[in-house]
Symmetry: C2
Subunit: 719 residues, 2 copies
């Protein structure tokens, strides 16, 4: 476990910082001041060529003048100085560094060379480093704060690894106002040596981290990401912003990232059990909710409010997310009615209506709800005490002729019973309030790790995450077996093919493609390849009418548009006509005689390749509307059976796979097996660059591949 | 214009308030204190049976003791007292009231009766009132503040009408922190007399209101809503929360609302040019952006940031919303490069990277961008001054041995050039910052009406709204012609039908349904109804093979499943076989001989009815996946041609209507015309309770209705 270098980097006993001076307009200075003032228990050594002291602490004129090798070196210096300084630290015996300095691969070719130089230096000295082009690291447990803002709260629960330094270092006041506290936070910068996957692994091992948040512009090692994520038994939340053209371009300027499309990342996250969010606010606040509340064991949400609008908005948002807001039993309603006004509703949402006394809301009703067995989690809107009155203060001071401070003190609610309830009942509580830290109850929730949101709808998303987490990451996520055998027939076909082809790309003919599929046990239409009318007649007899006739040659794409596909041939006369027609249009082509598979449901599957990614298996709706609807999902190969099954239920139109319009449910074992096997085909033969099985027709309940396209690429092939 | 009672209610010269006392734990008292302290220039008269004075102001023992009739009566009293007091005010000559008291129709049957009682009293005295079960009204222009919190800023620009009182009265501190200020705000409560549509009309007329926000749990008069909204030339933003089961139940407890499903409201909003949002935060902040910035004239967004992560997140969010983040021209990039560090990117996003000097960001670069002609709007992330340093203060004071206040004062940025730019260039600016009002630059943006968001992604949504508004609500929105003639044939068919049917519901046979459609000029398959083999043969000859044969009788539903549909009949022998088969299965049924229309694209249309709504025309994808995909949209009848066209492009799979897979584009005039006419069919014959045209087959480019179902309901019909 200690092989991950972050265990050392995040817990140094001495830190040298190069780039701190007595000038407050330098980032190095600000980071130095925060490091010194964070309560860091170790030694801090500023290095500066001319300053004798840096804000009262002795400065060393150069790295070589240091008394001893620091555990960690921090560089906030001009770009050109980095290689030499890193080398100096290496020579001195320092093994870990944080390189804040920018100007490397994110700037283009010369920066890329310079980055390679520091990678080589580190490798020579066995050094590991974060950055370059990063903002620093935070450990609120030690504490250690190498960032541009002070720590106001320690001992947080949310671990962050971020490809944006801002989200580690410049949002601390934002997070403080919202009650979110990091356990550890790492700005990874350009990831030249340590990447976000290393951070994920470290945060997975770190005991003080209860949930992990990732801000991502790309994942440089998706296969390793998947492996690491699957091994972590904590909620992982990710925001990925590289999936659009503009996002990818911006990310590439920012950290030199090579991004991939959203749908591939969606698949990867789904497979890895990672909750994807759309905004940095959700990354922090949903991450925080997952870090500090028990998971919701079911979909049933209780909503307690003193205001109808927010209650309705929460109920509506829960419903849209697939949570339930169950109407409470008569018994529970009658217990609640003791504490609410006569015209108020106890059905759920429980709406106390405008109500000055907060006791029912902060004590009695939460207790009734959480002990009822009728809800799995509780959302409360509208608890407030000093916030309301501090805003009202000018009016109230005047009215009462009293001192504001005394009034406020008297207003403070006792919330000690409420803030214990999530742990007492093992059910989450999430708070919605329009008041910030000026409100004593909001401050109390922050300090008690009850997640607090500044508007009602956000609580529903947090509760959904608390539910989804419980039902997903506690489930089994088997790693797919690695030793799937390569069928001999497929091996022979591919070997023969590559030996005889020129360098470049070719499409396989349909017959060959389907032979490969059948060798893996993937069901296709029964078929025979023929070159004469007589063999065609024989083939049709053996397959049985009705049959399909198609021209079959790698040269012929878009067969339907070219009129060389004849379907639903009922008898010998029809076959003769069709055969003659195909021969007339493409005289040299072989002809494929296939079984005519009937079924209204058409699906599709395939394999797609993205630079830097393992092959991705695709599954989706087939048929006429395919391109218009793009109802498809992706998973990284190899797939487990569970991965494949999750694909089947992840398409929007997944209910066509069930008992749909009087049809039989699809054999989902057979369909899932096609997807799993397709993954192995792609891994066994890296020469294959594209696979499309379209359509897969559901015949009765049985999926049958009716057409298949393989594209193979070879360089310096057999010839 | 002055017939809308809100012009009087929002601008009274005298207000009597019943329910204020000297006890601060009463809502009436709090509202009274805020009214008195808001700066209201008129007379305030507290009424209380026992208190002689209420916080220093003379109280009247009863309504009848008032010196004169106040312009406006405010009632915050026990439910049972409301009718008598309203009557007292009516007798006294007061014509307007705000009834804050709850306990009416939202509580059930007896409350509903009591509500009717006050409606009747008001009607007797010609009174108009807001409520009951509301929280009050705010006019920041007069000012007038009948709410539970003080006004800290006046003369806002956003008008709000809300079915939640909280969103008018209890979010003023929340809004203050976010820079949002109401022009007028109205809590409508149960809408017993004045409803949200009246408020919409009023806010449309109110000059100080520049954009309108609506919080909705239901719309009680959708037809009038549409009419009023179409006549308003200001952006309208709406949050609707009644569209789910839980939302509807909660809303009904809250304000006795009868809600409708989301898809109907989506259609209504689209038709009315209303921007729908999902959260109260968006309602306020996007409403505010629309109220105070010029519209964006195009999709092109410039992004200026000092931090890569937020810049990338904004670019990604813009892209997902359909905005563009264009790469800037070489010329513009080189002008920008004068002001940014060498390793920073000028491509767009322009990323200054971590940078202490804010001048490039607040002055030079915005000027270059907005004058370049290359962007239509600008999003800036990361401007800050005192916020950062006030959080850093403990560290800095110690380091500099200086007073915090002096340091902060010196930090304040001069932003006067920047905040003028939106008006100088007629292009919107939207700000993203992680700092709140503790930051002087955030405060400056609030006061200068530059919309400011607390995280990056939110700015993209605001910019999208500023763009969508420009491109939608400035376009023509013709009102559909009212005088569409009722075809004589349809009139005769329906008349005959209703005269002969029993009370209840019946389905029309397909032949009759299509005759009605054809009488409106809606294209259907050519067809003839026959009762003998000979007439069938004659019909087929006249229509031309291939043909379709179907049993045709109102009693036979689900014809395909019953095996009484034979398609693709090629010749007389096939026809004879099919006819015999149908006669065998349903001996008494007539048989429909239809043209066989071929086309891969199957669509559907229909009319659906929801309680309280005019008939809604539906359009969507047909075919096998219809129920699975639910890719359909709705509009309220009657439809304009534009409404119908907007339906065609609103389905997800709309590109199948273009040149799709080598097929011809659909004749969209013909398709739109079917939808418009369908609207008139439903309006002409209220007895029709359901219409389904499924499938509409696209034959070549021509839409043809291939099957049709009408359900008709009559009470005490002709028999």
């Amino acid at each position: 476990m200690d092989t991950n270098p972050l265990h050392q980097i995040m817990r140094p006993s001495s830190v040298a910082i190069v780039g701190a001076s007595n000038h407050l307009d330098k980032m190095g200075t600000i980071e130095y001041l925060n490091l010194v003032n964070s309560g860091f228990p170790g030694e801090v050594m500023p290095v500066h060529p001319t300053e004798k002291e840096v804000f009262g602490k002795k400065a060393y004129p150069s790295i070589n003048d240091l008394d001893h090798a620091p555990d960690l070196a921090v560089l906030v210096v001009p770009t050109s100085l980095v290689p030499e300084m890193l080398e100096d630290f290496g020579r001195l015996g320092t093994r870990y560094a944080v390189i804040v300095t920018a100007g490397f691969k994110e700037t283009g070719d010369s920066g890329r060379e310079l980055e390679q130089e520091i990678v080589d230096i580190a490798s020579r000295y066995g050094m590991r480093f974060i950055g370059p082009n990063c903002m620093g690291i935070i450990n609120t447990e030690l504490p250690l704060n190498i960032s541009v803002m002070p720590l106001k709260r320690l001992n947080g629960k949310l671990g962050l690894a971020s490809q944006s330094g801002t989200y580690v270092a410049q949002t601390l006041s934002y997070l403080y106002d919202r009650g979110v506290v990091f356990s550890k936070a790492i700005s990874v910068g350009n990831e030249a040596n340590i990447d976000v996957v290393d951070c994920l692994e470290y945060l997975g091992q770190d005991e003080s981290t209860k949930a992990i948040a990732l801000y991502l512009e790309c994942i440089r090692r998706p296969d390793r990401f998947l492996e690491v994520a699957k091994g972590i038994d904590k909620p992982i939340v990710a925001q990925y912003v590289g999936g659009t053209q503009s996002g990818a371009r911006s990310g590439s300027s920012h950290t030199g990232a090579m991004a991939g499309p959203d749908y591939v990342y969606d698949g990867l996250f789904e497979q890895a059990g990672v909750v994807r969010v759309d905004t940095i606010e959700e990354l922090y606040t949903i991450g925080w909710a997952l870090a500090c509340q028990p998971a919701s064991k079911g979909r049933r949400v209780g909503i307690l409010t003193n205001s109808g609008g927010p209650g309705t908005a929460i109920a509506n948002a829960c419903d849209k997310l697939g949570l339930e807001v169950p109407e409470l039993s008569e018994t529970t309603q009658s217990r609640i009615k003791e504490y609410i006004p006569p015209h108020a509703s106890a059905r759920n949402p429980i709406d106390l209506t405008f109500h000055i006394d907060m006791t029912p809301m902060t004590r009695y009703i939460p207790d009734i709800l959480l002990s009822s067995g009728e809800v799995d989690g509780l959302i409360i809107h509208g608890i407030m005490d000093t916030g309301f009155f501090s805003y009202m203060m000018p009016v109230i001071e005047k009215a009462l002729d009293a001192k504001g401070e005394d009034i406020l003190k008297a207003m403070e609610l006792k919330l000690d019973r409420l803030v214990e309830m999530p742990w007492k009942y093992d059910k989450p509580i999430v708070i919605s309030t329009f008041f910030g830290r000026e409100d004593h109850s909001t401050r109390t929730f922050h300090e008690s790790c009850i997640p607090t949101f500044d508007s009602p709808e956000k609580t529903a998303k947090a509760m959904y995450a608390l539910y989804k987490y419980a039902n997903r990451r506690f489930g089994s996520r088997p790693v797919p077996k690695e030793d799937y055998p390569v069928p001999e027939e497929a091996k022979d076909i591919m070997k023969g093919l590559i030996q005889t082809m020129d360098s470049g790309k070719i499409a396989l003919d349909e017959y060959t493609a389907k032979r490969i599929l059948r060798s893996y046990g993937i069901p296709t239409t029964k078929e025979m390849l023929v070159n004469s009318m007589d063999s065609a007649l024989g083939a049709a007899r053996s397959i049985g009418y009705p049959v399909v006739l198609k021209a079959c040659s790698p040269e012929i794409q878009h067969k339907t548009e070219k009129g060389v596909v004849h379907i639903n041939i009922m008898d010998e006369s029809g076959l003769k006509e069709a055969f003659a027609d195909i021969r007339k249009k493409v005289p040299d082509s072989s002809v494929l005689v296939s079984e005519m598979v009937k079924g209204e449901r058409e699906l599709m599957a395939g394999v797609t390749y993205f630079p830097g990614f393992p092959p991705c298996v695709m599954f989706g709706l087939g048929g006429i509307f395919t391109e218009a609807l793009k109802d498809n999902v992706f998973r990284v190969a190899p797939l487990s059976e569970d991965d494949a099954r999750s694909m089947l239920i992840s398409i929007s139109a997944s209910n066509v796979l069930g008992s749909y319009r009087g049809m039989d449910p699809v054999d989902s074992d057979a369909l899932a097996s096609i997807l799993v096997k397709l993954g192995y085909v792609s891994l066994h033969f890296p020469e294959i660059k594209e696979i499309d099985l379209n359509p897969i027709i559901i015949s009765g309940e049985r999926p049958v591949v009716a057409d298949a396209l393989f594209v193979v690429e070879a360089w310096n092939g057999g010839k």
